[in-house]
């Protein structure tokens, strides 16, 4: 399992109700269910991935988060997880509002567009950055709203969203983001993971 999921699983701990948005093939869900006895549900737009999840005995609904989240009652999950998909929504702000409504707490991870390799790519090559985390070309990328760790934190502050935890990931190394190291982490992290409410 990838490091990012390990961070998320560590935050969630045992015996909680979890909704995984864009759960993919259910790797995280499966781990949370089997190893941490969580009661897990998933939402995934791709049919083949939904079928994979159902085959594993995971309760996953085929659907698009921008349309489907409305059906879940308020605070019906202890944690709602959104892993690296916020930037792909047409209206990420609305999706985020829904997540905060459904979950007592929400875990959001974002690929950091402020990462130094991305900055250098744009600066020196003058073309849209392509990295390991962001492998697509500008014309076929699903990512519509890229942001940096700093952008996301600014957004939360502006919207009065409480950040309970902020972690980052660089070359598989996990560390905490603090006010003091923010500028530094915004340059050297590939991924930000936030626990918000």
């Amino acid at each position: 399992m990838k490091k990012e999921f390990k961070i998320i699983a560590k935050i969630i701990q045992d015996n909680n109700r979890v909704l995984d948005i864009g759960c993919g093939d259910g790797t995280l869900m499966d781990y949370l269910k089997k190893n941490q006895k969580n009661d897990v549900r998933g939402l995934e737009p791709k049919k083949d991935l939904v079928q994979k999840c159902i085959s594993k005995g995971l309760s996953v609904i085929e659907g698009d988060a921008e349309k489907e989240l409305i059906q879940f009652p308020e605070k019906s999950f202890d944690y709602v997880v959104l892993s690296q998909t916020l930037q792909a929504f047409l209206n990420p702000e609305e999706v985020l509002n829904q997540l905060l409504r459904i979950g007592k707490q929400t875990i959001v991870s974002i690929p950091n567009f402020g990462y130094w390799k991305i900055r250098l790519h744009l600066l020196f090559k003058g073309t849209m950055p392509i990295t390991q985390n962001l492998p697509d070309e500008w014309y076929n990328t699903p990512n519509l709203h890229m942001c940096t760790i700093q952008d996301f934190v600014n957004f939360c502050n502006k919207k009065n969203i409480k950040i309970n935890k902020s972690m980052c990931l660089t070359n598989e190394k996990i560390s905490e983001i603090t006010k003091r190291n923010m500028k530094y982490k915004n340059i050297f992290s590939q991924l930000g993971v936030f626990l918000i409410q």
């Binding site: 159902i54 996953v60 059906q71 019906s76």
Partner: protein, 374 residues
């Protein structure tokens, strides 16, 4: 044919059942069939509900019609619902014509065939009758309840009536309340039967009416694309149009054949009663307009499946069930399977569907048996 039907498995239910219409029935037969073996701790039982024109003979050769069972693709040894592993039960619905209490039976009070004096039955009545069978078989907890179309409606009704009885529930290509379009289509079939001069005549059957009903219904089970691909404008004989009303086109001949073979195996009055039961089905109304309340106490794990080209019970209607289940925090998975075979997809060889069904039941079986060990 009649001698055979007397030899099939039947349970005479000697408890009384109060029907939704208010009438009470007692000492009535429920014909059923089982496949596979019930394991020691009775944890491998799957109750299967049949659709409008199905019966208890899910798989193998139907001993009455001598044709393959209606769900041979999905159920049987080594199939998605593997009868080497699971104990599959299916009962002929109340109102049916394969040995269960229905309009074809003799009314003991008059010694005449019930015909249209049979009480109007509902999906709820149909499901309650099958609960007696489970009690008789000594099954307290089912591994799964499953069914497509009207079978799916029974799944929904079952879990709402008996929230503790099924570990998992698989409603396929169905709806929680019959739509206006579906009521209209059923009414078309009923009117065709009732317009036949042989309907209600003693010693005769409204074969033409029933055949037309079946032809119309059959179209609704297929998709436009599926029909076009299979038949297009192909002619029956290689020659040209005959400038008559004979079956010029292959699709006409196909439908006529479907109609004519159907009347050999189905009772016209059963068709009236069962379509009525479907039309009356409105689970939302049973729970004062809040479908979520139907599932409030359910402990079942749901897997809801719809098909992309099904316009009779479209994905949107299946999704309403998903939404209601999510609203009450139930455990639900949902997938729409891509298929151009229309509503009938659940009965046909649609590999993605069969794979999903097989793996869902398999994983559920493991979970249920692991829980028992703990």
């Amino acid at each position: 044919m009649n001698t055979d039907i007397k030899n099939i498995k039947k349970l005479i239910i000697n408890q009384s059942l109060t029907l939704d219409c208010g009438k009470i029935i007692k000492d009535f037969p429920l014909a059923y069939e089982t496949y596979g073996t019930l394991n020691k701790n009775k944890s491998n039982a799957v109750l299967t509900f049949h659709a409008l024109t199905g019966d208890q003979f899910v798989t193998n050769i139907n001993p009455i019609t001598k044709r393959e069972g209606w769900w041979t693709f999905a159920v049987g040894p080594g199939k998605a619902v593997d009868t080497n592993k699971y104990f599959v039960i299916c009962a002929n619905v109340l109102g049916g014509c394969m040995g269960s209490f229905g309009p074809k039976e003799v009314d003991p009070k008059t010694n005449k065939i019930f015909s249209t004096s049979f009480p109007v039955i509902t999906i709820k009545d149909i499901v309650k009758a099958q609960k007696f069978l489970l009690d008789h078989l000594g099954i307290k907890k089912l591994l799964a309840v499953m069914g497509g179309s009207m079978g799916g409606m029974q799944v929904l009704q079952f879990v709402s009536l008996y929230p503790d009885m099924a570990y998992s529930a698989i409603p396929i290509a169905c709806s929680a309340s019959h739509s206006a379009q579906n009521i209209a289509l059923n009414e078309l079939g009923r009117q065709a039967i009732m317009a036949d001069p042989n309907w209600k005549k003693e010693n005769s059957t409204p074969d033409k009416g029933l055949a037309v009903a079946r032809m119309a219904a059959h179209i609704t089970y297929l998709s436009k694309q599926g029909l076009q691909e299979k038949f297009g404008r192909k002619l029956q004989d290689k020659g040209s149009l005959k400038f008559s009303f004979d079956a010029d086109f292959q699709i006409e001949s196909y439908l006529r054949y479907q109609g004519s073979t159907f009347v050999d195996r189905f009772d016209a009055n059963s068709y009236l009663y069962i379509t009525r039961a479907m039309d009356y089905f409105d689970l939302e109304k049973q729970y004062n307009g809040n479908l979520s309340l139907a599932f409030k106490n359910t402990k079942s794990k749901f897997c809801i499946i719809s098909f992309s080209s099904d316009w009779l019970y479209p994905t949107s209607e299946n999704k309403e069930i998903v939404i209601a289940l999510n609203a009450c925090g139930a455990n639900v998975g949902f997938v729409e399977i891509n298929s151009d075979k229309g509503h009938d997809s659940f009965l046909l060889n649609v590999p993605e569907f069969l794979k999903t069904l097989s793996e869902f039941i398999g994983s559920t079986y493991n979970e249920m048996n692991n829980e028992k060990r703990i």
